[in-house]
């Protein structure tokens, strides 16, 4: 009896203790302990990334965004880019193209060394291009970007000459990407395993160690001499170290930012972005990735989307605006372009994407999808109007997956059956390679409008040996191919802009894709100053960053 009473008392005490806890939990974080904003030199910045942990830190191997994020601190490319798309000097200080556009002469910075002591020179550039083009490296992104480079000639220590197999107006943009950044030839010579563990560059930080699944430790390069584009100061970085942690769960990353365990997080959830944008001690950096927007592509290579009327009907019925507004808590802007808003040559046409279910129904009737089955879906010759929609749960965040479910419901109202299949990344690529889709959302990051050629040129239907192909819309349009080919070959910026505008209008008017919004790339920071993102691949650089004391 006594024991019971004691137990009950303890129970009550426990419950009483729980009440303030729950009350506290229910209100949002209190910025009471907001740090002072006086910046100081030195210190360790902790960055928590939600992107997949790379299997290799050398961005020449494969070539994905997580690699670009880390390598931004370690490796530097030949050129940079500003917000207007203007190419800026970096490791290359000047360049000149021959009249036939087949020879590019680069002048290189002459006082820069890799962090292993190897001098940066024309030989290093030659070794890097060879490394990217060597099948044993297993490069995808950098390999494709430099596909038109036949050879690099070492003129002298500070002059490298690129010989091209055909003109490439995207060469400088390709060379501005982290996936073609320059590494120490001595570092590359150590072999894949060593170079994957700690690539050696000229950047403001050096890879000290990598503890898989946990973190990469970066230390400052005290001998940093590069003049980096848009840098706010010359010489080494202010921070002593960067700890780059892998924390896959978005809510945990945000909690770690709020509790001060980390200073910067990427891939935040929309509500966290909205609350940062509303003010407080957390700062939001919105840096849309370059290249394509997030969009839904319609497979025009097979029925039913081989009929433009059916494609338009789907786009008129999808009605994505309300979903985008609510699911992303007002933090994203609807796009009507195939290209990212960070691409100066992007063109938009919102007149093609208005919701109109009456028009959609009329288009489907005209296309012969007139009958309805027991479930209310349209049919034609006994076949249901079904759209298979494989969704990559690694690439599409929760809000985007919810948006796809809304599209599914909206499309149903005019008689489409949308079958959403959530898949992991490998399974998803497998489904695309097997052509088992009618609609798909597949982001593609590349600096510059040349991404249009990769995504919509008919060459992009031919699969790579792994089965991958980039032209998911399966567009085969000779006029479009011609415009894209000429845009890639011209040396006249005005002609290039006009051709890419024409190409964008063609794919939009053909209802091959439903643009949604920029590839969301937000960084939330707390207790730091001087974080900026590159205008190339939109990764943050901490060269000018200081911690608040």
């Amino acid at each position: 009896m006594l024991a019971a009473r004691r137990a009950l008392t303890r129970r009550r005490a426990a419950l009483a203790a729980l009440v303030p806890v729950l009350v506290l939990a229910s209100c949002a974080s209190d910025p009471a302990e907001s740090a002072s904003t006086t910046p100081r030199d030195g210190g360790t910045l902790v960055y928590a990334t939600g992107d997949a942990e790379p299997s290799c830190l050398d961005p020449h191997v494969g070539g994905n965004y997580p690699q670009a994020l880390i390598s931004t601190h370690v490796l530097e490319p030949l050129v940079g880019r500003d917000a207007d798309g203007e190419i800026l000097p970096w490791l290359a200080t000047a360049w000149e193209v021959s009249p036939d556009a087949l020879t590019w002469d680069f002048t290189l910075a002459d006082d820069v060394a890799f962090t292993d002591g190897t001098p940066f020179d024309a030989e290093a550039v030659k070794v890097n291009v060879a490394h990217l083009q060597d099948p044993a490296t297993g490069s995808s992104t950098g390999y494709l970007a430099l596909a038109k480079v036949a050879e690099v000639e070492v003129v002298d220590a500070t002059h490298a000459r690129f010989h091209l197999s055909e003109p490439d107006s995207a060469l400088l943009e390709s060379l501005s990407q982290q996936w073609t950044a320059i590494q120490s030839p001595a570092g590359i010579a150590r072999g894949t395993e060593a170079n994957c563990a700690a690539p050696v560059g000229t950047g403001p930080f050096v890879v000290e160690s990598w503890t898989p699944q946990q973190q990469v430790d970066l230390v400052r390069n005290d001998d940093y001499t590069t003049v980096a584009p848009e840098a706010e100061h010359a010489g080494p970085a202010y921070l002593d170290r960067i700890v780059w942690r892998f924390i896959p769960d978005a809510a945990t990353r945000y909690a770690a930012l709020q509790s001060g365990e980390v200073h910067v997080i990427d891939n935040p959830q929309p509500d966290a972005v909205a609350s940062a944008q509303a003010g407080g001690d957390i700062t939001d950096i919105d840096a849309p990735r370059p290249g394509s927007v997030n969009r839904i592509e319609l497979n025009s290579g097979q029925a039913p989307f081989d009929d433009v009327r059916v494609r338009e009907a789907f786009i008129r019925a999808a009605d994505v605006d309300p979903g985008i507004e609510t699911l992303y808590a007002g933090t994203v802007t609807r796009s009507y372009s195939p290209l990212s808003s960070s691409e100066p040559l992007a063109t938009s046409d919102d007149s093609l994407f208005g919701t109109d279910t009456d028009a959609a129904n009329a288009l489907l009737d005209a296309a012969g999808w007139t009958a309805r089955d027991g479930d209310g879906y349209r049919t034609k010759d006994g076949a249901r109007l079904t759209l298979r929609f494989p969704v990559s749960t690694n690439q599409s965040v929760a809000a985007e997956q919810s948006l796809f479910e809304q599209i599914q419901a909206n499309a149903r109202s005019v008689g489409f059956e949308v079958v959403i299949t959530p898949l992991d990344l490998s399974g998803w690529y497998g489904a695309l390679a097997a052509d088992e889709y009618e609609i798909v959302s597949a982001p593609y990051t590349k600096v510059g409008p040349d991404v249009l050629r990769i995504l919509y040129h008919s060459d992009g239907i031919i699969p790579a040996p792994s089965g991958y192909f980039a032209n998911h819309a399966k567009i085969t349009d000779p006029a479009l191919d011609d415009a894209l080919d000429r845009a890639a070959a011209t040396t006249d910026p005005a002609e290039r802009a006009a051709l890419y505008a024409q190409a964008q209008q063609t794919v939009l008017e053909g209802f091959y894709l439903l643009p949604l919004y920029d590839q969301q790339n937000h960084f939330l920071s707390r207790g730091t100053t001087g974080i900026r993102t590159l205008h190339t691949v939109s990764t943050p650089t901490f060269l000018d960053t200081r911690l608040a004391s």
């Binding site: 019971a4 299997s55 290799c56 898989p212 946990q214 770690a256 509790s259 490998s426 790579a464 089965g467």
Partner: protein, 354 residues
Amino acid sequence: MNILRWGLGRVGAAALVAWVVTTVVFFALRIAGGDPTEAILGGPGSQAGEEAVAQARADYGLDKPLVVQYLVQMQRIVTLQLGDSYARKTPVAELVGAQLGSTMLLAVCALVLAWVIALTLATVATRAHGLAGRAVAATIQAGEVVATVVPHFWLGAVLILVFSSSLGWFPATSVGAAPAGLVLPVVTLAIPTAGFLGQVMRDGLAEAAASPFATTARARGASESRILWRHSLRHAALPAISLSGWSFGSLLSGAVVVESLFGRPGMGRLLLDATNARDVPVVVAVVLVVAVAYTVVMTVADGVERLVDPRPRGSARATDRPENRPTDSGTGSGARSSTDAPAEQSPRTEKAIV
């Protein structure tokens, strides 16, 4: 002789389990779609050139028929040469070895905490009497049921929100053996197991308190505390011990979620990443290690059960082993009769317990 046969039986069972799970996993990975070659060439969606793909397939034997690949994989397991990771190009044994300690620490801490919580609650619930006592017992019972079914990801998210974001008592992320970081993941992992073990123990304690040996002890003048600590707990612990082996398996699978949630390195995350990338050698190795760990813990649990169980070891034993299963506990009389049986049937047993 008996112990030798028992040991051989255990090793045989472990080998069988290891063979079955690695075989299932090997083929399941290949059926799931996606191409392991891409793991070698920088990850899914690789656009590596023809030459690179051919070279990778040849280097890793992926150009051979699937059956041959399977036999090679089995040969690697038998000879304990687990090969290299497709994605990392480093030895699989190194990768798994680096993460084994972290996950085992997490799972063992969670199992210990689950036992402490379960024992405490079961004792309190059993010793509670009267109207208020019944209310306490009912609350504990309900709490245990809720704890058993609550998913790790939800529980972990709530704990992070309360104790990290709001109160700031514990970090939201966890690395290695740092005690502060270990608290929330261990609690997250332990609570569902504690609820489950608690139900089993509470049942056992209630039965023991009402059983003839307790009556005999009371008649001899033993205090309720003595009966509880010396006799009833021993009786009640048996099914819980035997279920701890099973629980450990569920703790290891729970670690996949908990490690990802708390950003904690470990085998669970290694498994998740390797599965996403179709890194076959790593997936097979992790599953193999988990299967072996599970079998070891089952064997230890079985051994401990034999030590704690005061009943004589004879041929009859096999039939009166407690056969509690989560669904049986607290509901069916079938589970009770099996644990009650020895005490009722054999005066010698009763004497041994008392």
